[in-house]
Symmetry: C2
Subunit: 151 residues, 2 copies
DNA sequence: TCAGTATACGACCAATTATGTCCGTGTTCA
DNA sequence: TGAACACGGACATAATTGGTCGTATACTGA
């Protein structure tokens, strides 16, 4: 419960990997998969999804592969998760048609919707660049981000 | 992905229901289940779990049922989710033994652990009382809570 | 031009998890 | 004593996730 799928996980890793290598023109799905031990075909599908959503640019043929479509700083973790796993909701209601059938009697969906928004906000405030920058030198103080939650 | 289980959902609803009725000595699982249309036996098991974790007090026999073990203000949504669904992690690693096998090569687990902490913080800052108070009068300004995220 | 390398995409399968039911046991009270 | 309740394990089923396969298509460079 409340767990990121591995697909989203893999997607984030791949984007981070690309963000760390801005000099290379393109990296193939296999290259990235091998670097981490991710199933190559699965990662390929994930990268294809990200391409369709406009987060990556793809290039077939020899020396082809994927490259970031935008700057690493302008891609948020939220976008990635959204692209891979679809709309982001922590509850089963709110997702259009097929929600849970006790939505009318439910009294906690509004508060939970706020929580949902807050978590989405957290995810939106994290960029691929944040992930890539992270592990560098010990002396760099990462700037804290603030998120507001109103029940 | 990143979705609350219905069990946790039901648990929160039940606790809120109890919090709104502090006068009654105890309410049976069936009472609460009927009020919302939740499967009674399933809710019963959830309430039993919450009892084992010390969030509820139970009383068998006629006119028995469940009551809050603590004040509604001192029970956080985090505790409830923890009691029902077990340890709270957004990633597959960090959960003791059986995590994902690419933990050593993974480069995003530290940042994600911070995100995990942040989300846990959000959940911890929400009490059952917050849920119960919510829908009252329109004029009451709910106080916003602040959560800090440091990548 | 053609072989090799790569993406694109849908169908399919296996493993896991979530959801819910059944049933027998023990407890309390009128 | 019996009705109404909690307790808890063992199922059964549905939904989701994680992963594979096969094939078509696109691009490159020798
Ligand atoms: S309606 Fe209530 S019970 Fe149903 S999914 Fe939404 S929050 Fe959960
Ligand atoms: S180790 Fe990395 S890939 Fe594996 S679960 Fe943790 S964050 Fe995800």
């Amino acid at each position: 419960m409340l767990k990121l799928t591995k697909k989203a996980d893999y997607g984030l890793m791949a984007l981070k990997y690309l963000a760390e290598r801005p000099e290379t023109a393109a990296l193939s799905a296999k290259d990235i998969a091998d670097a981490y031990g991710i199933p190559a075909q699965l990662l390929a599908k994930i990268l294809q999804q990200l391409t369709r959503k406009g987060l990556l640019k793809s290039h077939a043929g020899m020396n082809g592969g994927y490259a970031l479509a935008k700057s690493a700083g302008s891609i948020s973790a939220y976008e990635v998760i959204l692209a891979i796993d679809g709309p982001f909701f922590i509850t089963s209601c709110t997702k259009g048609a097929n929600g849970c059938e006790l939505t009318p009697s439910c009294t906690i969906k509004e508060p939970l919707a706020r929580v949902n928004e807050t978590i989405a906000g957290v995810l939106k405030s994290i960029s691929i660049q944040d992930l890539a920058e992270h592990e560098h030198q010990p002396g760099h103080a990462p700037e804290p981000k603030l998120v507001t939650l109103t029940i």
